[in-house]
Symmetry: D2
Subunit: 357 residues, 4 copies
Amino acid sequence: MLVVMKPQATPEEIQAVCDHIQQLGFRPHPLPGAQRTAIGITGNQGQIDQGNIEELSGVAEVIRVSKPYKLVSRDIKEEDTIIRFPGTNITIGGRDLAMIAGPCSIESREQGFACAEAVAKAGAQFFRGGAYKPRTSPYAFQGLGEEALKIMAEIRDRFGLRIVTEAIDAEALELVAEYADVIQIGARNMQNYSLLRAAGRKRKPVLLKRGLSATLEEFLMAAEYIMSEGNYEVILCERGIRTFTDHTRNTLDLSIVPAVQRLSHLPIIVDPSHGTGKRNKVTPLARAAVAVGADGLIVEVHHQPDKALSDGMQSIYPEQYEQLFHECSQIAEILHRNIPRGVSITEDAGAAHPAAH
Amino acid sequence: MLVVMKPQATPEEIQAVCDHIQQLGFRPHPLPGAQRTAIGITGNQGQIDQGNIEELSGVAEVIRVSKPYKLVSRDIKEEDTIIRFPGTNITIGGRDLAMIAGPCSIESREQGFACAEAVAKAGAQFFRGGAYKPRTSPYAFQGLGEEALKIMAEIRDRFGLRIVTEAIDAEALELVAEYADVIQIGARNMQNYSLLRAAGRKRKPVLLKRGLSATLEEFLMAAEYIMSEGNYEVILCERGIRTFTDHTRNTLDLSIVPAVQRLSHLPIIVDPSHGTGKRNKVTPLARAAVAVGADGLIVEVHHQPDKALSDGMQSIYPEQYEQLFHECSQIAEILHRNIPRGVSITEDAGAAHPAAH
Amino acid sequence: MLVVMKPQATPEEIQAVCDHIQQLGFRPHPLPGAQRTAIGITGNQGQIDQGNIEELSGVAEVIRVSKPYKLVSRDIKEEDTIIRFPGTNITIGGRDLAMIAGPCSIESREQGFACAEAVAKAGAQFFRGGAYKPRTSPYAFQGLGEEALKIMAEIRDRFGLRIVTEAIDAEALELVAEYADVIQIGARNMQNYSLLRAAGRKRKPVLLKRGLSATLEEFLMAAEYIMSEGNYEVILCERGIRTFTDHTRNTLDLSIVPAVQRLSHLPIIVDPSHGTGKRNKVTPLARAAVAVGADGLIVEVHHQPDKALSDGMQSIYPEQYEQLFHECSQIAEILHRNIPRGVSITEDAGAAHPAAH
Amino acid sequence: MLVVMKPQATPEEIQAVCDHIQQLGFRPHPLPGAQRTAIGITGNQGQIDQGNIEELSGVAEVIRVSKPYKLVSRDIKEEDTIIRFPGTNITIGGRDLAMIAGPCSIESREQGFACAEAVAKAGAQFFRGGAYKPRTSPYAFQGLGEEALKIMAEIRDRFGLRIVTEAIDAEALELVAEYADVIQIGARNMQNYSLLRAAGRKRKPVLLKRGLSATLEEFLMAAEYIMSEGNYEVILCERGIRTFTDHTRNTLDLSIVPAVQRLSHLPIIVDPSHGTGKRNKVTPLARAAVAVGADGLIVEVHHQPDKALSDGMQSIYPEQYEQLFHECSQIAEILHRNIPRGVSITEDAGAAHPAAH
């Protein structure tokens, strides 16, 4: 259910409606919009009497939401969600595209810095690197853990790049939420509801990857799990689905980008690296992702892909990333969008290296 | 790597080999067989010098295992794994088929007991019931939690049925391992490696459901995660994969039963309820599962399926389960296998109601 | 639309209704049932005024059929279709299961006879063998064509087996319809509508294989194409669908058997050879197919599978087929069905070898 | 096998090698390249002695081709195939992209002309329109047949557009080859090998659509069937595959575009209309197809999509096509490619309306 407040409703009136909802045993989610605030109501205890709520001061109307996803839906929030990173000019969502790049795993301080320098030079604003790796085999390299997180914190200080890294369980989540700027939930955990809820209780944006066999509705419902806990900064990410084809590791389903954008206000980015699993297909599919209207790209870049401990096959070289960045920027312009180059530190100037404009 | 001990090797010799492996920084997994003991070695720190190990007293030979799954493999353990439940005649694996039945969720003490009585009367040995439900929507019924576990513990005492229930996260796992006889890991968590490892540290059998888009290798590797932590009692479960078809909720892939049995010593059972999602298809597919050679069945049975809080569409009536049980028993016989009826308490007679023979 | 005639309607009344329908520009399909005759109406020229038809003598009621398949549907014909083979006791559909077996391709007279003798001895009633092979490569063995058809005609004379073979185009169809007893339409041609229509104009039963990515509705609609031309003897065949799995060549979707039987009166059989693509999985899946309720099995049997020109990997040995036949017979009994052994020639005794009872 | 001729080999030497191959019982396929001619050899009669051929005058070397596709492969022909349309400046393959557009079916002369005028005005060079429609239901509109072909021939005369239309069987093929400029083979017939062979005996380019569950290899092998008969002008077309997703009718697999381009010299275009099945997704996916590197687009455009007899849901309005055309042209430029606007008649000036530059 959605309570739409009048444009002139005061903060006190909004608070009073939230309190009333809470007293009824439900959870209010105030969602400020450009014109007016809406308040989403969630909880599974059955039906509420909407008449009473409509009588409260400042309430314009109460709408029943029939879709299974509520907070995720454009019915509840019409404008695109734009996620901001304090102290920088960086955003995810809206007109600017987010460019995230880096190695599959952080393997060492040297490797991390080499990769970070390369992607920062190309113009990326975000650095991705795995600290905790969900691997098919228990005997494969599982990531450096907190050591990797510390290296990435240094990378943020040195290059100004915001850090994106995956949390694979509750324990890792605590550390990732402490060190990183964006918490990634991987495809294998897209329906790990306990982890989704825990991420929903953090106050850092969450990058949620689509599961290998997730439908659009299941994908949006996974985001709903995070939002239902009060964290409204969710970035969706298409990374390929599992099909019968064998010429790529997964089948990148670019049609989900406009499909999500119709139904939801959340930004959706694309991962052409996992989406194809082959170096020579990353750039063409990255271009296609921008052309279809994606809100950003997450790409695996390694300074020495042939020596990578994981996913070397699908990591591209720094010079390939520069080319990709350039071509995608041109395509974005045609769609009246923009790929900003690098990071400007707006306040906390001591913490980061100014972007290379 | 696998160390095969001589038939006459003493426990002391076996222990000495294990100690040596541990000193090298690896993990030994002693696997007693009918003729002799083998010791699996796991760990990802690179190559071991197998020459040294072959010189140890009691060692017959050292074999390199090239498959990605090791402890799961028949190469390491040729005989079928048979899981026993102390104090009863119940087993999973081997000649006898395991019959597991019960409602999707425990909704109340009354509902739990009514369902349990029905399945016990039909001849089942195991009772399944959800305490923690992974639901697509955060607003749907999520299970009664520990209250449900307590009800199931009472059901075990009352009917002698062994209890199977799902653990959805580390927290639930602690409680499930305490109350239940078999820990279920659901399809959505098949690649939740932290949860698999945690289940591997428990000393209760684990029922591992195949993920919706898991290949045979990924399925076996998930079991390997559990076994790599020292818990060798894993039961695999086929429950349908996601395909393009729309006449059933999932596509039950019965061919994985003989495929698993070729490669692995672990038992594999089938869930025709989730595998079809439709009441009228549960019994035909249950018969097919027994005919293909499955080591057991897990079936959703509800005394009032139309009032069930979850999965009512695919739950069958008690009288349908009796018919299913009867037909499957006859098919099992043709394959020279047996579906035992009910539970005999062999020792701890006070704890359980004798089975209805 | 379906015209249901009164139980006491005379042949003349039925004919008059058919004539009337034809005058309206539509096609009548008289479908005699146990109690009364129904007349299906097909054609795409829009809506008919059903009031006029209801006024005709002998008409009980006129029913609009909303499903896209009409002649295929149980709504139009409630009883199972049973296909009979004149001069023999052989049927497809109903209580008896049809056992069809033979090599992928007819490679020579010797090979054909050796295979036929083996399957006849085991108890099969039908012999399958490819004369025209749809091969992925234009450079692979494409079958012996009419020569193979002649060999199979000799096999019928010698062993009494009825002949099933594939027609891949209009030209082959003419010859197949002349020589064979059952015209097979392969999976790759399931939506070759011209071929379906042409087969619908023949007066021989048609065995229609499910396409690799056909939904249940598309499968039934393909049968509808055949029936819409006046050939009501269609046998459906599940032979595996294409999914992401890699442990079998295709994924055998046994759930379609009860799904078809609910919606349609047509018999449905199963092909565990193409359904798995692996010799060691044919027998387990054949048993499962009978247990799920299939109306028959079509199995690739070769006396020397390792020398087969096509599909040797999935062809089983004669002694494996005997074992399969035996196990399936026992399972059929449990379902109160019967697998008849061999062929009894009821009239044209000179033409065939009596069955080995 | 591939015979590579020396750069200076004479036409007589080339002919002599071809004659020799034919005498050996094989089929030679001379493939002229920029530098030198190669001669592909096809036929399934086993191994040839390559030593003898290497001794022939003008032969540089003989290469064994291990891939199952031969004539399709870049190993045999390195340069992109460019298909030319005599009397015009139109090409398919190479730097220029082919823009094909029009209604699903030709419904009437008026509708055909209205659609053709709209797409010609937008800049398209090819007009698509169905004369023979493969429909899931035998009772649905099946196309106007030859009448539609005649309308399209008039459209060619009036607007200069080249005509693309589907042949669904041998009979339709004769007429399509007579009236149209490009013969389309639909997805459902991708493995209708008789039809492929028959199309291979025509001297008109063939547009081959990917089957719903075709792998890359099967797709290329279908093209090989056409080429093996001597027709080397094949255009491949990705039109979506069948997966578990439900937010689009099919899943457009854009990664196959660079995959085909790596392995084959044949042009590959994309059909975003069938690929998505939804009007609002056609333009985004069309842009993505150009960005990924496709050699052209085939798009359903209807002047009154809501009144279309087939596929109205996925047909776009003329003004949407203009916008699509404009955006795709800009993206093509970024990739150093070009979308030519309209048709210039180079010789047969009387036959066609000059393009609107």
